[in-house]
Symmetry: C2
Subunit: 327 residues, 2 copies
């Protein structure tokens, strides 16, 4: 199943982007208008998030209506206002008796070093991403699904020598079919401190560019170096959403999100550092009624996330003065 | 130290409100423009929050620049955009090299049953609350500190018989002086499912109004009843901020927030139910250099929160068809 087909792969979900390619920032929304069970695992140390507490399995609200991924650092959380408005205008949300309240968890990444730091995702951009998602589900979006789009518009990897020896990355997506009608997909905006590596060959796909040419191996430099590395402060983060048609409880959705982080471990080196805010959400539509062992879903999620990370590197184009893996 | 004096009590903090008294909603901001170490404890089960993950002691960002409390259910989180803008315009925020990013955790409460559910706190209201905070710190705010203000504009307690047998509450504040120059204060917006009780006498101060007159004891009704109670779904929440001039680590700030919830246990009956989203933040300015045992700060926080809860009941006025404890 190719990524090009994915928008139609999992009924109940719609994915859309909006971005400002001059400012090099944007946002990506995964809509689940009828609601999806959701879990999150935040494993980076510089997270920017909203509505993640309600995802605790011991808490009340069972379903979310969208997940937002955005650039713009903490400013980008504002895009959720537009997602909420789009959903409310169409009657989607958690029924509270006096209003339907759309539940929109989200996470942001730091892309202020590229493009214009003064323009960030806002409510209008969040709304536009929802429009794109609806258009895409109707087969009439002209925004690519992957590359320099949405939350990945200003993303890059390989920051050991600072933001300007990095390599441009973006959003990648991978959808996998399991047995019995199970589908698991992932969309990831890759903006890591470390390098992206091919999980099979171990070779660097995109990372820190050595001023003398070629790649500088970030992990080797860190572990063999003097320790005096010019880490950026909280300037990195990889954020993603795993979607599945499986029927998950909130606790299972969190478990899948936990396992999905292993897809980052397989493809980003190093990852989950103090300077990354890595967060992965999992959304289950529940449209597949047959029970599936949660570890099977998690295992597919690891592969989907790993595939999405590599595609985020290989589909991005150069921008903001940075080259991309594809040239 | 009276609540009237409190705005000047703890240098480094400024508290402000903005509200729409027709819609019966609003927001309250506690500014710490120069940064405050912050922790949070979310103990209710229907929370609406943002930027709480970064408060985990294992995570990077050490200081926040404001905490937002808002009505409007999840919609109210949008007010944080205005708080961020106000801070950014004045050069406050976490230095990232390419922009200062204001860090604004927040929590919301459900007030859509009173007033107009279609008008909620937004970015403009968040900005206005910051303006009020600055005016208050300069002694020229004409907005009362307590009562039907800010995040408490649409708050009420005692929902066992639904939203219209409840009693109007609002925001309360209490500031306490400890030994050696220590000051601990609390501002709480009280919107609980349960009843507010005087922690000394145990008597109900504000709660579910019995249709036949007097108070209906919610805890007694729940524990002695048939179990078929008309709980509202996620329609309640008590949210607050503890502020202190003590020097706290992030882990200590969380510990103080945990203890502070005992102030709710002493004054709201029942509290922390599946239908409350109770969250308390703690902010430490660090201006008191002498070390203070964290449990001392926590113990004062319990008293401050308990005092603030009772004041939230006794300072509120009638609104939205609901009477208040004061008449």
């Amino acid at each position: 199943m190719s990524a090009d087909e994915c928008p139609a792969c999992i009924p109940g979900f719609e994915i859309g982007h909006a971005h400002d390619l001059e400012a090099l920032t944007g946002c990506t929304v995964v809509l689940a208008p009828e609601g999806a069970v959701c879990g999150v695992d935040v494993r980076g140390s510089a997270p920017g998030t909203r509505e993640t507490d309600l995802l605790d399995p011991s808490n009340l609200v069972e379903k979310v209506h969208a997940v937002l991924l955005a650039g713009g650092s903490a400013f980008g959380l504002d895009a959720a206002a537009g997602v909420s408005r789009w959903l409310e205008e169409r009657g989607y949300g958690f029924e509270t008796g006096f209003a339907k309240v759309p539940i929109v968890p989200g996470a942001v990444l730091y892309d202020l070093a590229l493009g214009r730091p003064d323009r960030r995702p806002d409510a209008a951009m969040g709304y536009a991403a929802c429009e794109d998602a609806r258009h895409r589900s109707e087969g009439r979006s002209d925004v690519p699904l992957e590359g320099n789009v949405g939350a990945g518009a200003g993303a890059s990897v390989g920051k050991l020598l600072g933001p300007f020896q990095a390599t441009k990355t973006g959003v990648g997506a991978t959808f996998l079919a399991g047995a019995g009608g199970l589908v698991v997909g992932a969309a990831v905006a890759v903006n890591a401190f470390g390098d992206v590596r091919d999980p099979v060959t171990g070779e660097i796909v995109a990372g820190t560019r050595n001023p003398t040419g070629g790649w500088l191996d970030t992990t080797a430099a860190l572990t063999g170096g003097s320790g005096e590395t010019p880490f950026g402060l909280g300037r990195n983060t990889t954020i993603g959403v795993v979607v599945t048609n499986a029927t998950l409880s909130k606790a299972q959705a969190r478990k899948v999100a936990q396992m999905a982080h292993d897809g980052l471990a397989l493809t980003i080196s190093p990852v989950h550092t103090m300077f990354d805010g890595d967060a992965i959400f999992t959304m289950g539509s529940g449209r597949l009624n047959t029970p599936v062992e949660v570890s099977v879903i998690g295992t597919l999620a690891v592969r989907a996330v790993a595939g999405a990370v590599v595609r985020a590197a290989t589909t991005a184009g150069p921008a903001g003065g940075l080259p991309a893996a594809a040239g």
